[in-house]
Symmetry: C2
Subunit: 153 residues, 2 copies
DNA sequence: CTCTAGTTGCAAGTGATTTGCATTTGCCTT
DNA sequence: AAGGCAAATGCAAATCACTTGCAACTAGAG
């Protein structure tokens, strides 16, 4: 039942994360390998504790310290992103996808991604006009689902 | 030496903050009065501890808990804003000025304000297009001063 | 001036994340 | 295959920025 040929997108992501760690000269331990594939598989923006839960399926005893330590290293290598949304612990995602910003539904906590080139361009212009260049930025829209006229509660 | 007529801008701001607290049904204590005028006078984005330091000029023993408690109340009344920039404790400012966003010089920590209607409009459009309305948002540009060609180090 | 509910300062508690340290463990070197 | 050792792990304790419990105060209505 083991596929030999098909390298899935997730495998590729896992490899990229692994490579980043090797490049940093760190060892690929069981716990790290588990965490890397959990990150590669994630479609959402999980917190450290949730990543630990998911990794425990493979490495039962993995500690939260190890999760945090590895996340910090991966962040330094630039292969994952750490987001600090309002009112929650930090959330993480791999940085494979191209840049995007986030909307957070204040009612449900759901995180929705979006990208807009005009906004990105405007930001750069503004900074430029004031004599600065952007190192990085953070744009978060805290939103509420809009009721269409005549919608039920 | 006491001016009777001239109500300065700062006096007006202090009054607005005071009114907000009274409206909330809370008492104007010595410590609160001090904090309110410190906030009204502030031209920058001070942290709670810095506000405490400034208030101590008037009320020597004012505790940090009281500062935090009052700041939280003022925030709930909508007369001050709490900003959570990366890597620092929360910073505060009165909300007299119209809406603006912030650039943070990653080298110096300096906070620079800016406002751009096109960005604001675009944000609203994006949310709208996805069926949401914006409750509030957060746009922070982490920047570095740009070296003009031929500038000294 | 009195009375009392709101407020204060202080100490202790929280929640997320980091760190110290003794014990394992990857993995390069024989 | 075995050895050696720096790096990594797990656990407990520490940190940081606030928040909260509580007994002693005090603003301010009557
Ligand atoms: Mn995302
Ligand atoms: Mn500002
Ligand atoms: Zn962006
Ligand atoms: Zn804005």
């Amino acid at each position: 039942m083991r596929e030999k040929k098909a390298m899935t997108q997730i495998d590729r992501r896992t490899e990229k994360l692994t490579t980043a760690l090797r490049r940093a000269g760190v060892r690929i331990t069981r716990q790290r390998a588990a965490l890397l594939s959990v990150l590669a598989e994630a479609e959402d923006h999980p917190e450290a504790i949730e990543l630990q839960r998911r990794a425990e399926a493979v490495v039962p005893g993995i500690s939260l310290s190890t999760v945090y330590r590895t996340l910090t290293e991966l962040e330094h290598q630039g292969v994952i992103l750490r987001h600090q949304f309002e009112g929650t612990p930090a959330r993480f995602e791999h940085s494979e996808a191209r840049h995007h910003d986030h909307m957070i539904d204040v009612e449900t906590g759901e995180v929705i991604e979006f990208a807009n080139d005009r906004i990105e361009a405007l930001q750069a212009e503004i900074a430029e006009a004031m004599g600065y260049e952007i190192v990085h930025h953070r744009l978060e829209l805290y939103v509420r689902r809009k009721r269409a006229p005549g919608d039920p509660d």
